[in-house]
């Protein structure tokens, strides 16, 4: 029988290889290696199952095995291992980390479509965090995300229909009529709701329906962004303006880390559930919007400024805004294409924090959030 140290060491070597394979994009290899790592770590942990005095070894090994089980999609197994660890005497910090991991496991459970049947044009949105209780959520945490998701749906429809990026003005009425977003009654768990994208009536001259394709595209793009696979996301959305717009809206929908810790999307395809647990925080998505202006970035410096958004000029494709801080100081911000209408405009007259590259007197916007 192998010793605990040998098993744990082998598990960590395999976990390293899995991580490196995942970064290379070899997802199948990564999953196989993660599973092997999980089996070795579990065997190590199980040797200390009844030794409640073997801390922190016992709880750390079970936490490590549970994390690997999560990577393999074995959520029930992860839940069981976390519970075994918590039954013992884990040190305070490890107990807290085990509880955080359990929250993730629970969220995975809430992503499942319990007794809900979804058509190809429907998907489920779930949110979880301190702003969410059992079947209840703070309105701003939920409603703002729904509004952003609706903007993102219209943009995706326009992109899939081969339309040029619309810098201003509302979505064409025919698209609004055909791809309106409908909400079904919310369900408890985390806070989960079915979103129905679709045509409510047959319109003359509107011959095909791409609702299912739009749902697939949105969930796939969220999955890529969540896994830090921006290059693949760019391949999927080659138009730079649409890409910037998608990342900007997805960042607003993403978890803030506290009030909303996780955002989940679930759809049904060929009788199987497809789930994305979006855990990447808003602050981690800033870098994704840097793709276009590498030269500017090299010349400038990354800055962060705060002020009320009071002036905006959208006469040119590249817009301009101005923030006024509490001392009357002014900051001129250049807004890249694809950002003004959906990302900046909803924050009008709000106190915001802008992150961007300062070159000369102007700042080129990378991210904007409510202060």
């Amino acid at each position: 029988m192998k010793s605990i140290n040998e098993l744990h060491e082998a598990a960590m070597d395999l976990a390293d290889q899995a991580f490196i394979a995942r970064r290379r994009g070899d997802i199948d290899v990564a999953i196989t290696l993660s599973r092997k790592a999980y089996e070795q770590e579990l065997e190590a942990a199980e040797q200390l199952r009844d030794d409640f005095n073997a801390e922190p070894s016992r709880s750390v090994l079970y936490r490590s095995a549970a994390s690997l089980a999560m990577e393999c999609g074995e959520t029930r197994e992860a839940e069981r291992l976390i519970s075994i660890a918590l039954i013992g005497n884990p040190p305070y910090e490890i107990a807290e980390e085990l509880r955080n991991l359990l929250e993730q496991v629970n969220f995975e459970r809430h992503l499942r479509l319990e007794k809900v049947d979804l058509s190809s044009a429907e998907f489920q949105l779930s949110i979880f965090g301190s702003a969410v209780g059992y079947g209840i959520a703070r309105s701003e945490a939920f409603i703002e995300r729904i509004k952003d998701l609706e903007r993102l749906i219209y943009r995706t429809v326009e992109r899939k229909l081969g339309r040029e990026f619309r810098e201003r003005g509302s979505t064409r009425q025919s698209i609004q009529d055909s791809y309106s977003l409908f909400l079904a009654a919310p369900r408890p768990g985390s806070f989960a709701i079915t979103l129905i994208l679709g045509r409510q009536m047959e319109l003359p001259g509107f011959e095909f329906d791409i609702s299912g394709e739009v749902v697939d595209e949105i969930i796939e793009c969220f999955n890529l962004l969540n896994n830090g696979r921006e290059e693949e996301l760019k391949n999927k959305i080659p138009n730079e303006t649409y890409f910037q717009n998608f990342v900007g809206l997805a960042k607003r929908i993403a978890p803030d880390g506290e009030k909303v810790k996780m955002v989940g999307l679930t759809k049904m395809r060929n009788g199987e559930e497809v789930r994305v647990a979006f855990t990447r925080k808003q602050e981690q998505i800033v870098s994704a919007t840097r793709s276009k202006d590498d030269d500017d970035e090299k010349k400038g410096t990354l800055v962060s400024v705060q002020g009320r958004l009071l002036l905006a000029d959208a006469r040119e494709v590249t817009g301009k805004i101005q923030l006024i801080d509490e001392n009357g100081g002014k900051y001129d911000i250049v807004v890249p294409e694809g950002m003004m209408d959906d990302i900046v405009k909803p924050l009008w007259d709000e106190v915001v924090v802008v992150t961007g590259i300062k070159a000369g007197k102007k700042i080129r916007l990378q991210g904007i959030d409510r202060a």
Partner: protein, 178 residues
């Protein structure tokens, strides 16, 4: 007591008791990429503040090219792993500890410090708590140090820890031993 010397990141490429050479190489590439992204060259001087005062010249052997930056398209991830590489090197130079174990923590990894391997993993070990800032001012750095130290404040049954906050633009590090 203050000390000075060289911090050779390529030492990580050989691995440590709790880190394989491939993982060590991954961390050293992340650290050197962070420094190069902030326009630093070989021999850049890093001040270390906190429980230990020191100054190190940092060296690396990796060739950081445009493909290297492209492979690190997630700045947050790059900064986290880059800070881990520097933190481990500072621990080796300043505390006498080495990394003897690591474990999976959610989607991340945590490192355990000690002098030698025990019968059971993580026994008699201290945890390494690392935080990285690619480009920040003193306020950002001090805020991050306070937050990290608070997270590891001693409580009943808590574990010993070393906290390291690394900022890459100056560059500067804070090392606090709990």
């Amino acid at each position: 007591m203050s000390s000075s010397g060289n911090l050779d990141l390529s030492r990580l490429d050989n691995g440590l008791p709790g880190i394989t050479p491939s993982w060590g190489g991954f961390l050293s590439e992340a650290s050197s990429t962070c420094l190069v992204s902030q326009k630093h060259g070989l021999g850049v001087v890093m001040d270390v503040l906190g429980s230990q005062k020191a100054q190190f010249k940092i060296f690396w052997k990796n060739q950081i090219q445009s493909q290297t930056f492209a492979s690190w398209n997630d700045q947050q991830e790059l900064t986290e792993y880059g800070a881990c590489g520097i933190a481990i090197m500072l621990v080796l130079e300043l505390t006498g500890y080495t990394v003897i174990e690591r474990s999976k923590k959610g989607t991340g990894v945590d490192y355990w410090l000690g002098y030698k391997e025990s019968n059971r993993p993580f026994e008699n070990s201290a945890r390494l708590e690392v935080s990285g800032i690619l480009k920040g001012d003193d306020k950002d750095i001090n805020g991050r140090v306070k937050k990290k130290v608070k997270q590891t404040e001693p409580s009943d049954g808590s574990l010993p820890a070393i906290v390291v906050v690394v900022e890459f633009s100056k560059p500067i590090s804070h090392l606090v031993q709990k």
